[in-house]
């Protein structure tokens, strides 16, 4: 059978090599035992299951892999990597694929997850510590999804679990500087 050629990848091997370089994992070791998929808590909701994802990377199907919801539904619980008989750390692989998707400008199928990550990091950048009220407002503005979880949010607020004002930690200026230096270096 001819290797599958993907419109945005040159050859199947170049994608496999790139993924292996970014993740540091040897994906040729996978013999499809399915332990990763069976133990994965979010696999039932993924469009491509973790074991299939590895096979597709081997076949060079870059576009389908980087556009999948699977890479964004992974929560890095590391059950897969713990159980893999060939010591492939699929959590690491997923993180590398997410980075590659972001670098390629591919919009996440699970776009809210990506937006949540961004709102979270901005919150630390602003205040040094996460302030949930402003972080969640930021997330809601980004996702334009204003009503999901509104009620639980109000309940948490009523129980005094979401303080109105952020705590002003002295280290926040230092954190901001560190972030800036690292962004520049990138």
């Amino acid at each position: 059978m001819l290797p599958h050629r993907d419109p945005i990848g040159q050859s199947p091997h170049s994608f496999l090599r790139e993924v292996e370089k970014r993740s540091g994992e040897n994906l040729n070791l996978c013999y499809q035992c399915l332990k990763c998929t069976v133990g994965c808590p979010t696999a039932p909701y993924m469009d491509i299951r973790p074991n299939s994802l590895i096979r597709m990377i081997q076949m060079g199907r870059k576009k389908e892999v980087l556009e999948s919801s699977a890479i964004w539904l992974c929560v890095s619980c590391e059950t897969c990597g713990t159980r893999c008989p060939n010591q492939i750390d699929i959590g690491v692989l997923m993180d590398a694929l997410r980075e590659m998707a972001v670098d390629e400008g591919i919009h996440a199928k699970e776009k809210n997850i990506h937006l949540l990550h961004e709102a979270f990091i901005q919150s630390i950048r602003r205040g040094g510590r996460v302030h949930e009220a402003t972080m969640l407002i930021d997330y809601k503005l980004r996702s334009k999804d204003f009503f999901t979880d509104l009620l639980p949010g109000i309940k948490l607020f009523m129980k005094g679990k979401i303080p109105l004002l952020p705590s002003l930690v002295k280290g926040r200026g230092e954190m901001k500087r560190i972030f800036e230096r690292c962004t520049k270096a990138k």
């Binding site: 808590p41 929560v75 590391e78 690491v92 979880d149 280290g171």
Partner: protein, 300 residues
């Protein structure tokens, strides 16, 4: 120094990194841990000027930025002492794994030290609060100091992911069949309930992005615990607690006939056993009220 003192059995303090949620959603976890520590003869000394740990350990090999917040915490802590403890399982995971990386990867260590303008060599011990109780205090000591034994209470220990995985870096307990929290539960006089979902993931941050996924994960965990006779579920993670405690109203809506079960932090349970006033254990912040079952057992 602290370690030497602990070996001699002298009372000591531990540097403590609370983490963002311990000041907000998990205030009851923080407060009960501080009070229980005093009763056990040590103090949690809060790290000054701490900032967020970043909440996820970056797995891709070239992501240095996410390693900077936890590295800065480690470097600051090293200026103050030799042992750092945390309560939140997520913070513990991030900080411990970063520490592991700082010990093993010289090239990254140098780069990181450059960015944070500090010089940290990875020579800090990072211990979870439960590890301090087990290794430094000893569960036998706790057994002796219990004022109100939790006899008759069936408690299920829920570990989740963060304490255990990846095993090589965390080294907390067995990766598939951990027993540390069960030993702790039994030291307090309660009966521990084993259940197959105790190391399953709670769905983590999917509770914001794809809530139905997290609800499903929580349902599987809780129904497994209930099936095995749990009267309370014990947790060490504010993220898990949010998913398995607060999501119970969603589960009830979806699965008619689902019986709710209180989810307590390990230190809340310890607080009852140590004879702290139940009104001071922050139960009003728990979503599912634990008072009915605790009253039934004559513990409050």
């Amino acid at each position: 120094m602290l370690y030497a003192l602990s070996v001699c059995g002298v009372s000591m303090d531990y540097l403590y990194f609370p983490g963002c949620t311990l000041y907000t959603k998990a205030k009851n976890f923080d407060q009960t841990a501080r009070e229980c520590s005093l009763l056990l003869g040590f103090e949690l000394k809060e790290l000054p000027e701490w900032t967020c740990c970043g909440a996820t350990f970056p797995l891709a090999t070239d992501n240095l930025m996410a390693l900077l917040p936890p590295s800065r915490i480690l470097a600051k802590a090293r200026e103050q002492g030799t042992t750092l403890t945390t309560l939140c399982a997520v913070c513990f995971n991030v900080i411990k794994r970063t520490n592991h990386l700082m010990q093993k990867d010289h090239e990254k260590r140098e780069k990181i030290n450059n960015y944070i303008e500090m010089n940290y060599q990875g020579d800090l011990r990072v211990l979870h609060y439960l590890e301090i109780l087990k290794q430094e205090i000893g569960f036998s000591q706790i057994r002796e100091r219990v004022k109100t034994p939790l006899s008759g209470l069936k408690a299920a220990a829920y570990y989740g992911c963060m304490l255990l995985r990846p095993f090589d870096e965390m080294g907390f307990d067995d990766k598939e069949r951990p027993t540390l929290i069960e030993e702790f539960i039994e030291a307090m006089g309660a009966e521990s309930v084993d259940f197959p979902y105790k190391i399953e993931c709670c769905g983590s941050f999917q509770s914001v992005g794809s809530p139905e996924v997290a609800t499903e994960c929580a349902y599987k965990i809780l129904s497994s615990a209930l099936k095995n006779g749990a009267e309370v579920v014990v947790s060490t993670c504010p993220m898990c607690t949010f998913n398995i405690d607060h999501k119970q109203s969603d589960i009830k809506e979806k699965y008619l006939g689902f019986k709710t079960v209180p989810v307590l932090y390990v230190t809340q349970l310890l607080g009852i056993a140590m004879g702290l006033n139940p009104q001071c254990l922050g139960f009003e912040q728990n979503f599912v009220d634990p008072f009915p079952v605790l009253k039934e057992k004559g513990l409050v």
